[in-house]
């Protein structure tokens, strides 16, 4: 009876491949971002041509990461895609509301420092992670 497919077949193999590809592109993007951010100061003394090249490489690798992420999501089964979508919606909503609120705090002089985009990225990442955990718990 158990002859046609194995437990490690189709979906799992495809998912593993997509995860590895996404990990590769994400790592490359982080490295290219560091290269574009620190290269001008530490490596080539703000040479304009090299700085532009660093930014272009970062953007190109970033688009590769976006494509890899799209393939990753398309490879998910329908329940995991729903979990991913719900977490993304939560992250986007919180990012939009809290991001604009955060910016407003500085405009109306309730905080003395300049809002940092990195704070918003961290908040969105944590929200997305929380959304994924909640989604997996919901369907456990």
């Amino acid at each position: 009876m158990n002859t046609s497919k194995t437990d490690t077949g189709g979906w799992q193999a495809r998912q593993r491949k997509n995860t590895v590809r996404l990990r590769y592109w994400t790592s490359a993007w982080v490295l290219s971002l560091a290269f574009a951010a620190f290269g001008p100061k530490l490596l080539w003394d703000f040479n304009t041509g090299l700085t532009i090249l660093g930014v272009v490489i970062n953007l190109a690798v970033g688009f590769g990461m976006i494509v890899a992420n799209k393939q990753y999501v398309q490879g998910l089964d329908e329940m995991h895609r729903k979990i991913f979508l719900d977490a993304g919606a939560l992250s986007l909503g919180i990012g939009l509301v809290c991001g604009l609120g955060y910016e407003l705090l500085e405009d109306i002089k309730l905080i003395a420092f300049q809002p940092e985009i990195s704070h918003l990225i961290i908040l969105m990442c944590l929200t997305f992670l929380a959304g994924l955990i909640m989604g997996h718990r919901k369907y456990q």
Partner: protein, 63 residues
């Protein structure tokens, strides 16, 4: 939505992983469907019906 996936799987002595491989989804998805926590899409319900050689309404029932 109620369903008879667990019963049908047990009749064939299949594990959740085996059924997941047959349906090309994750084992967690099969588990969630069996527990009634996740309702499958129509294409997946058709796939399950074809796999067990039954009509969709014989496997899935609206509560």
């Amino acid at each position: 939505m109620k369903n008879r996936l667990k019963v049908l799987r047990a009749e064939r002595d299949w594990t959740q992983a085996r059924l997941a491989a047959e349906l090309d989804v994750s084992r967690q998805t099969v588990n969630a469907i069996e527990k009634g926590k996740f309702d499958p899409s129509l294409p997946l319900a058709f796939k399950a019906a074809r796999l067990f050689g039954m009509a969709i309404e014989d496997i899935f029932q609206d509560e």
